[in-house]
C-alpha cells in the first residue's frame, strides 16, 4: 500500500515502472490485493461495479455463452445464472480473472472464473482463472465470422458447464 504521508517506496516505484501484473515477479512479494483483501471481498467489490445486468450481459460473446450455459443446465429462472466482468479490476490485474459465471446451488453460490488470452504460451502469473480461454489473434466477431464466433461460444460454455458440475452442480436442474 502507498500513503501520501509515508512517501513512495522502492517497491511501489517498481510496480509503477513495470506494470501491476508483474508486481509479484519483480518484488517477490504477494501483491496488496492478496495480502489485504479477502477473496470474497474482491468478488463482492467487482459485483458493485458492473456495467450491465449480470443476467443480460451486453457484450455479444458473454451474452451468447451465458445463453448456451442456461440451456445446457436446463435452468428456468434467469436470475439463477449470472455473468460478471472483472476486466480492469484488481481481479484482472492481480489474479488473472477477466470475468466469471456464477450460479445458485442450494445454499451457496458457485463460480467459474475465466481468463481471456491470445497468448498461446498462456500466462505464467501463477494465479490463473479456472479457465484460460485462448481466442484467435485476429479476435472474435460474429459479424465477421459467425461460425467461428458460435464455435468459440460453445467451447467456452461447455467448459464452464463441466466445471460447474465438477463443483457439485447436478447434471439436470429445474
Amino acid at each position: 500500500m502507498r500513503y501520501e504521508k509515508s512517501g513512495i517506496t522502492g517497491k511501489i516505484v517498481e510496480r509503477e515502472l513495470f506494470g501491476e501484473s508483474r508486481y509479484e515477479q519483480i518484488t517477490g512479494e504477494r501483491s496488496p490485493e492478496f495480502k489485504y483483501r479477502e477473496p470474497d471481498q474482491a468478488f463482492r467489490l467487482v459485483k458493485e461495479m458492473q456495467p450491465f445486468d449480470p443476467t443480460r450481459p451486453i457484450p455479444e460473446f458473454a451474452y451468447m455463452v451465458r445463453r448456451i450455459i442456461f440451456k445446457e443446465l436446463k435452468l428456468s429462472l434467469e436470475a439463477q445464472l449470472r455473468f460478471y466482468t472483472s476486466v480492469e479490476s484488481s481481479l484482472d490485474r492481480y489474479r488473472g480473472i477477466d470475468g466469471w459465471f456464477e450460479i445458485d446451488n442450494e445454499d451457496e453460490e458457485i463460480r467459474v472464473t475465466v481468463d481471456i488470452t491470445k497468448n498461446t504460451d498462456a500466462k505464467d502469473t501463477g494465479y490463473k482463472a479456472n479457465i484460460v480461454f485462448l481466442v484467435p489473434d485476429d479476435g472474435l466477431d460474429r459479424k465477421v465470422d459467425r461460425e467461428q464466433f458460435i464455435k468459440y461460444s460453445l467451447e467456452l460454455a461447455h467448459e464452464v458447464v463441466e466445471l460447474f458440475r465438477q463443483q457439485g452442480l447436478s447434471p439436470e436442474r429445474n
Partner: protein
Amino acid sequence: MPTTEEKDRRAAKKLFGSINLPKYVGGLAPTPEQLAKLAVTPEEKFGKVHVYCAGCGFIDCFNQAGGEELSRGVGIPTPTDWKQKYFQVDRCEWCSPENPGYINPVLKEVKPQ
C-alpha cells in the same frame, strides 16, 4: 506495438466488457446509510475493517494485515477492536487507478447516536 498483456486486455474488454470504476469527486463524507454500515464490523469472510474513500464515496474492506498496514501509514498503534472504527482516505485504487494507493489515511470512529 501493443504488448501481449495489452492485446489480451483489449480482447477481454471486447468479449466481456469492463467494470464501471467509481469517479473521483473529492471532499465527500459518508451518508447516514454508509455510516450505519461503517459502524458495524464486516462479516469475517469479507475482512476486518472498512475503508471509506472521500474521493469517490466507495467503501472497501481489508483484513487484519490491511488494518495493521493502514495503522502504520497513519502512525498509530493497531486498534485491538475495530468496532465502530474505519479508515478514511482521500483517494483509493478505484477512483484514482492512475495513482494506486490509499492517500492520507485517517482512523475515524462512528459515534453512537
